[in-house]
């Protein structure tokens, strides 16, 4: 009888594997973890978005201000950026979140039109013409949003458009970092 128990072994292995793989099913393989979590934001110094008022540049030194903030990569040519933009506006207007914008591979006049149409609640906007700063942040698709703590360290990264549940999570994290 004991010998026959061996035949149950494949079933057990299958059950274990099934549970393990089942857990993976809900995950989105398109969402990569950031390599920068808990590391200082990469060094960069970007010129301001041309023609925007106020025309402040955006550099690493503007991230470590003692207050946690968001860095949002966006572009006028990016559809999901339009989708998430109202959420960014709400975070800035209703919850006083500081949102820094990095305009990725865009034309300034089109970026300005995008902001006129959808609202401009960014604190500063840097122009990342060749996408180099995005690569330093490990960005692999627009939009992406980073939570930066008061010391200028990356604490969270959300690839893809912000949705209400993610915005809640981001708000909670920002509050915890205060």
């Amino acid at each position: 009888m004991a010998k026959r128990l061996v035949y149950l072994l494949p079933l057990l292995v299958f059950a274990g594997l099934a549970v393990y793989l089942w857990q993976g099913l809900g995950k989105d393989p398109g969402k990569l973890p950031s390599a920068l979590i808990d590391k200082p934001a990469p060094a960069f110094d970007l010129p301001p978005l041309e023609g925007r008022m106020p025309s402040d540049p955006l550099a690493t030194r503007h991230l470590a201000t003692g207050k946690p903030q968001l860095v949002n990569f966006f572009a006028s040519w990016c559809g999901p950026c339009q989708v998430e933009h109202p959420i960014l506006n709400a975070l800035a207007r209703e919850h006083n979140v500081i949102v820094q914008g990095i305009n990725y591979k865009d034309r300034p006049e089109q970026a300005r039109a995008f902001l006129r149409r959808l609202g401009d609640t960014y604190d500063r906007i840097g122009e990342d013409k060749d996408g180099r700063v995005a690569i330093d942040f490990g960005v692999y698709g627009i939009p992406e949003t980073f939570v930066i703590d008061g010391q200028g360290r990356v604490r969270y990264r959300h690839p893809g458009p912000l949705d209400p549940p993610t915005a809640e999570k981001v708000l909670a994290l920002l509050e915890a970092l205060q």
Binding site: M1, K3, G30, L32, A35, L36, D130, I135, V139, Y140
Partner: protein, 155 residues
């Protein structure tokens, strides 16, 4: 036969077309370009995930190919180029995971499973030979002396 060979040849010729590198991206120095190609094969496009940097048409892959070449021209070793990208995109960009305690199951798991399978097959085969020599068991003998309890049908 000749037609078959021609077809095979045509397929072979089609292979290099999988590269997405445009001539304008290439380096003038053939040795450096060769290293860039070797690196491009080992690095993953973070956007398209199952394509290497060299195979991908994605804008980010093109940007990363340019950075690989920039780093090589600047004098980086292959390892340094990989480290540069890993620092930004994580180990995910390496198509071959690094050998480490936590990745042993990735590296040796398939070989281990194949080995277990081979042992099982070998044991079954050996038993089959022994039974051939001894003659089949009595199918109604239920004393569990042997593992092979598939019943009378197969014998």
């Amino acid at each position: 036969m000749r037609l078959l060979l021609l077809c095979a040849l045509a397929l072979l010729l089609a292979l290099p077309a999988a590269h997405a590198i445009s001539p304008s991206e290439m380096l003038d120095d053939p040795a450096l370009e060769h290293r860039a190609r070797e690196l491009g094969k080992d690095l993953r496009c973070p956007k398209c995930q199952n394509q290497s940097l060299d195979d991908s048409e994605a804008g980010i892959a093109r940007d990363l190919r340019r950075i690989v070449r920039e780093r090589l021209v600047a004098g980086d070793t292959d390892q340094e180029v990989k480290a540069y990208l890993v620092a930004r995109y994580g180990e995910f960009v390496l198509l071959e995971p690094p050998m480490r305690k936590t990745t042993w199951i990735l590296w040796f798991g398939p070989a281990a499973i194949a080995l277990i399978g081979a042992i099982v097959v070998w044991r079954i085969a050996r038993r089959g030979r022994r039974q051939l020599a001894e003659g089949p068991d009595d199918p109604f003998d239920d004393d569990d002396d042997d593992d092979d309890d598939t019943g009378p049908v197969r014998r």
